[in-house]
């Protein structure tokens, strides 16, 4: 393609190459659609038809796979646990992160820089390094709780860990966001005699709402997909999250070979995310690309 200047170049080769490139890109996207379509179709098929007739439409559209995944394989319980943990978790994370991000990004305190960096460091640390100490620590907490009250729920452990591990990203996103907000309104409010807490609640919080929504969305997405911590810290299936239940279903499937149920399980895990993406795609993409583009 890079022919020397002055030489008449043939237009055929670049055109063929370009057509190949376009075909590659379109093929890639088509593969994504085909994979999703195959999984959705499979979720309606009975028994082994998933593999014997991979291209045909299901003969009867039956929801029995969904029922068996939801009830027998406990994906329903996992779904509720996930909703609970993701909901509580992301609200707590964003609440704590917004409180911290506001003064971190807008005061000239000497410690603001180092503290912000401390939070950002968490973005690069693999979870594996904290799992062993936390495993031991959470065991100690639950033992102590059992001795004191005779009760502990490992979902509480998971909730605490979800908040701690999601904070770095939320703080990072929100400090950037608070920094981009104009200062005039804040000054005006302070001159009018509003205290700092009131300024935050009535001026800054509403101004920051788009950023807070984005942080909530991304934290929620991340927690919905989180699996490692749930695998390590939850031992009782009744307290498990959805991805953990899906993995459980996968390992039993190897023996029961009710494959349709596994396909239904994948759909159950994936559909809420797709719905969210269709509804709020722009915001999600903006949030995910924001930090690195700026």
């Amino acid at each position: 393609m890079a022919s020397p200047v002055g030489v008449v170049r043939s237009a055929v080769v670049p055109r063929v190459l370009w057509a190949l490139c376009v075909a590659f890109v379109v093929g890639w996207a088509a593969f994504n659609v085909a994979l999703l379509g195959w999984v959705i179709l499979g979720s309606f098929r009975g028994g082994s038809a998933v593999f014997t007739k991979p291209f045909a439409l299901p003969e009867v559209w039956s929801f029995s796979n969904y029922v068996s995944a939801w009830v027998t394989s406990k994906l329903g319980v996992g779904f509720l646990n996930s909703v609970l943990l993701v909901g509580l978790g992301s609200v707590s994370v964003v609440g704590l992160a917004a409180l911290a991000a506001y003064p971190l990004s807008r005061t000239g305190m000497r410690s603001a820089g180092p503290v912000t960096t401390l939070f950002a460091m968490g973005l690069g640390i693999p979870l594996q390094i904290i799992i062993v100490p936390l495993f031991v620590f959470m065991n100690a907490i639950s033992n102590a709780a059992y001795q004191a009250f005779g009760w502990w729920d490992s979902r509480i452990s998971l909730y605490i860990l979800y908040v701690a591990t999601s904070l770095p990203f939320a703080v990072f996103l929100l400090t950037g966001f608070f920094r981009s907000l104009p200062t005039e309104l804040e000054e005006a409010a302070a001159l009018d005699g509003a205290g700092p807490f009131r300024t935050f609640r009535q001026i800054m919080w509403p101004l920051a709402r788009p950023g807070i929504t984005t942080a909530m969305l991304l934290t929620g997405l991340g927690l919905w997909n989180e699996t490692l911590l749930a695998l390590v810290f939850i031992t009782d299936d009744q307290q498990g999250t959805l991805p953990r239940a899906l993995l459980g279903l996968y390992s039993t499937m190897q023996y029961t070979s009710n494959w349709g149920g596994l396909f239904a399980g994948i759909v159950i895990v994936v559909v809420p995310t797709i719905v969210l993406y269709v509804a709020l795609g722009r915001r999600i993409v903006e949030g995910m690309t924001l930090g690195s583009v700026k």
Binding site: A29, V39, L96, T107, G122, V132, V136, P196, L221, G281
Partner: protein, 318 residues
């Protein structure tokens, strides 16, 4: 989910006047500690301190609660390097980092350059982004099913009359190659999105000028796209390093959980999981697992610093 990384320059808040300041600034100083303490306590208590404790655990022999810790110095690290399955996991992670890194960036550049000129570009970009959003466990399992003996891939090959090319894709011989391809497929969409937004901000007249000067698409890429997106590439290279070292759920789902995955299919993260609380039966070798995790952190650190050094250029204003 992969996380967005800051450029260090973006982290330091603007320093304002040391003392006094406007009434709003004085107010903010009053709430400074009360506002940041809750988040800081959570984060330090359940993230930073455990991470430091993890470094300590890597120097002891320990099976967890109730077992006395025996200090063994670098014993765990020595044991780790003699362990064949760890060496394989280490090599696998490095291979994913490099091979998939090259694959992801090459594909992302190619795809975003093509999408720039297609009418359907935004739609295709949206479709390609989806795997990045979905639960990596679910996507991994879906791909595992696609590659299973009677899965979609082999069925398609047989339908096309290429039945002889059908393989048992998830056997130890093939599985790591599949993991490499699958990782490139699963990660590229995100980088396409990042590149596309950077390419979208390049003024069209650069490309028009390049075309007037007789540059083909390849040269336009070399002389317009690449230099004007270099900043972003260096930041995304850091992002890639971090997420490649962390990759866990996707591979774990792809491989299946019937038993412990074969060494060929393990990354360092999976190896740590199997050495400590995962695996059947769980080994609870906390010291060894922590030593592996420390190596992962060091790798991340070294690579991030190296990439930033190596790729730093004068930012081009446009």
């Amino acid at each position: 989910m992969s996380r967005v990384m800051a450029s260090p320059a973006g982290l330091a808040p603007r320093v304002r006047a040391r003392s006094g300041g406007s009434p709003a600034e004085q107010g903010r100083r009053k709430i400074y500690w009360p506002f940041i303490t809750p988040a800081l306590l959570f984060y330090v208590g359940f993230f930073v301190l455990p991470a430091l404790y993890g470094v300590w655990v890597s120097f002891v022999k320990w099976r967890g609660m109730g077992d006395p810790q025996v200090f063994v110095g670098f014993g765990n690290y020595r044991r780790m390097w003699r362990d064949d399955s760890f060496r394989m996991a280490f090599t696998n992670t490095i291979t994913i980092l490099i091979v998939c890194g090259i694959g992801v960036f090459a594909c992302a550049f190619l795809i975003s350059s093509v999408l720039r000129e297609l009418k359907l570009g935004p739609v295709l970009r949206t479709i390609m982004f989806v795997p990045h959003l979905l639960s990596p466990i679910a996507v991994g399992i879906g791909l595992g099913l696609l590659l299973s003996p009677d899965g979609l891939l082999n069925a398609t090959l047989r339908l096309a009359g290429l039945g002889s090319a059908a393989q048992l894709w998830l056997t130890p011989d093939w599985i790591f190659k599949m993991i490499l391809i699958a990782t490139i497929w699963g990660s590229t969409g995100y980088y396409v999105m990042l590149m596309a937004s950077a390419i979208g901000r390049i003024p069209a007249y650069y490309y028009e000028q390049a075309a007037l000067d007789g540059a083909g698409r390849f040269r336009a890429f070399l002389h317009v796209t690449l230099p004007l997106t270099w900043d972003l590439v260096s930041v995304t290279a850091v992002l890639w390093m971090i997420s490649a070292i962390r990759i866990f759920e996707f591979v774990y789902g792809l491989v299946g959980t019937g038993a412990n995955p074969p060494p060929q299919a393990r990354t360092m993260t999976i190896e740590v999981f199997l050495t400590t609380t995962g695996g059947a039966p769980a080994q609870y070798d906390m010291g060894l697992g922590s030593a592996m995790a420390v190596v992962m952190v060091l790798m991340t650190l070294v690579l991030v610093v190296a990439v930033r050094r190596f790729m730093r250029r004068e930012a081009l204003e446009f």
